[in-house]
Amino acid sequence: MHLPDKRGYFGEFGGKFLPETLVPALRELEIEYGKAKRDPKFLKELGFYRKNYIGRETPLFFAKRLTDFVGGPKIYLKREDLAHTGSHKINNAVGQALLALRMGKKRVIAETGAGQHGVATATVAAKFGLECDVFMGEEDCERQALNVHRMKLLGTRVIPVSSGSKTLKDALNEAFRDWVATVGHTYYIFGTVAGPHPYPMMVRDFQSIIGNETRKQILELEGRLPDYLIACVGGGSNSIGLFHRFYNDKKVKMIGVEAGGKGVGTKFHSATLSCGRPGVLHGAYSYMLQDKNGQVLPTHSIAAGLDYPGVGPEHSFYKATGRAEYHAVTDSEALNAYHLLTRIEGIIPALESSHAIGYVLKNRKRFRSGEIVVLNLSGRGDKDVGRNI
């Protein structure tokens, strides 16, 4: 699949909707990224850091006791929680930091929700000697305090955002506002597959390592492709990272799991694809949660990394074309999954990833024995310990 097109569209979704001031920077990024991904030196460097710094490849782990508990399909966990810094976010942060260096930028900024992308960015900034500011909603600073501490330890300035709902969307707004004013010397390490072109494409490419490895690993382990790929969806980077490589494997079903919060029938959720409709938010035309006048709605999720009213345009395209299906799992279902996996596999999953596990637990009957399910364990749950129980 050769999407997006030159204008950054996945079907009808994507594009560039942002202030004129940023257009030259995005164009420069597009050109530079286009060169980098064909440059053997860049790819070699990226490969080096993937292996020796992130610790890839991450295992595809057969979860025997979870499999027994569910009592149907064989369940494999793609262990992105074992990547350096504890989540898949580092895959993208390393790639973009190398790009920032290539472009001669001295300062990087990022937005963060759960703090995983913030920590990943702070980490690469420390590693490569870049000045780093991370924008984080005030509410998220509180509920993900451990990650705030980690970022500060890494030498990053964490800027709490008090506008709007004080969560991820507002952190994004502030990051854009900063970037408009500092674009000359600052590189914006965007954390998910949303935003204006070329970010959805570029972040997907850096995250596709998840699916590339998974495909190879499952073929080695099982001699065939999985029946299901399941991953949580906030902005959508870990899920696209897993799904993308399987796009043309039409028999492989893809399920994106959104944050159902207190229930999709309430106002307290972040189930953008399940409950939203297309519009323009943060630079792209994609599904979003909005009222009838196009005002962005407040969201809720127990998982800060899913608490976002938008979603990447490639997911909107997958939904519109039926390539993937999207469902919601509530806070309490995710919490149950969090506890269960911890107790029976000895793996504490991030609350975000717990949504994907929650889907399988909730829909056991859907899966048959002999089927193979790959769950993306996008991050580890240390950051969540002590606040949710």
Binding site: P19, L22, V23, N173, A181, G184, G283, V296
Partner: protein, 274 residues
Amino acid sequence: MSAGISKQANRIDEKFSILNGERKKNLIVYITAGYPDLAATEKIIYALDLAGADIIELGIPFSDPVADGPTIQESGQYALKKHINLAEILKFASKVKPNISAALTLMGYYNSILQFGLERFASSCAENGIDGIIIPDLIPEESAKLLKAAKAVGVKVIFFLAPTSDAARIKLVAEKSSGFIYCVTVAGITGARTALPDFRKYVARVRKFTDKPIALGFGISDAKLLRKVLKHADGAIVGSAVIKVITRNLHKKDLAEKTGSFVSQLRKGMNRPR
């Protein structure tokens, strides 16, 4: 220039018309619709008109205004809490327009307009006395459908340029923008500033590609900066500085008068009769 249902000349063109070989200079004033409420906005508009604002830019509040600094953000959030919406603002425009001599434009983020419906929006603008529309998160490449709809009904679509814009961008924006070109003074967001970078070369660079009117905006906070801007540009846009006056006088009886007198002070600095 305008075609379609609106036969009379667009008021923005009139404001920027050329008199004795020189283009008229314009003071463009931004206010947030519904801040603090529409009744107050109406009085403020009349006061601005009386004070000599040539073009009044009426902001459509949006939940996530990425191009705006805290002053305008907060005014918009205030208005949104009172559930202001685009349909109401358009209706409101048709009420005030016959009573003013200023041109009237709307400024709003793209999603508000997209959800309203692009064609419906363009024709509603024409029907309700809106002369032009300004959308800070819409670039010419993404605007084909709106441009077509606006052109058909004689409504101007004003695009932006920035100090970061290169020759190719300037060419494109100059071609697509109508009414005037909105040049932001600084790479950044809206907000009153005490000093501005030297914009002479920047304005000259834009002039090389177009003879369309050029208005500078972002950061222009007082008569001194305004004078400086208008030495080189055809128009100056003042927003946050005006909103600050509104905020200071929010619950006072003479809110409109105070806002008017601030703008009237600015107008005096322009050395040009209306």
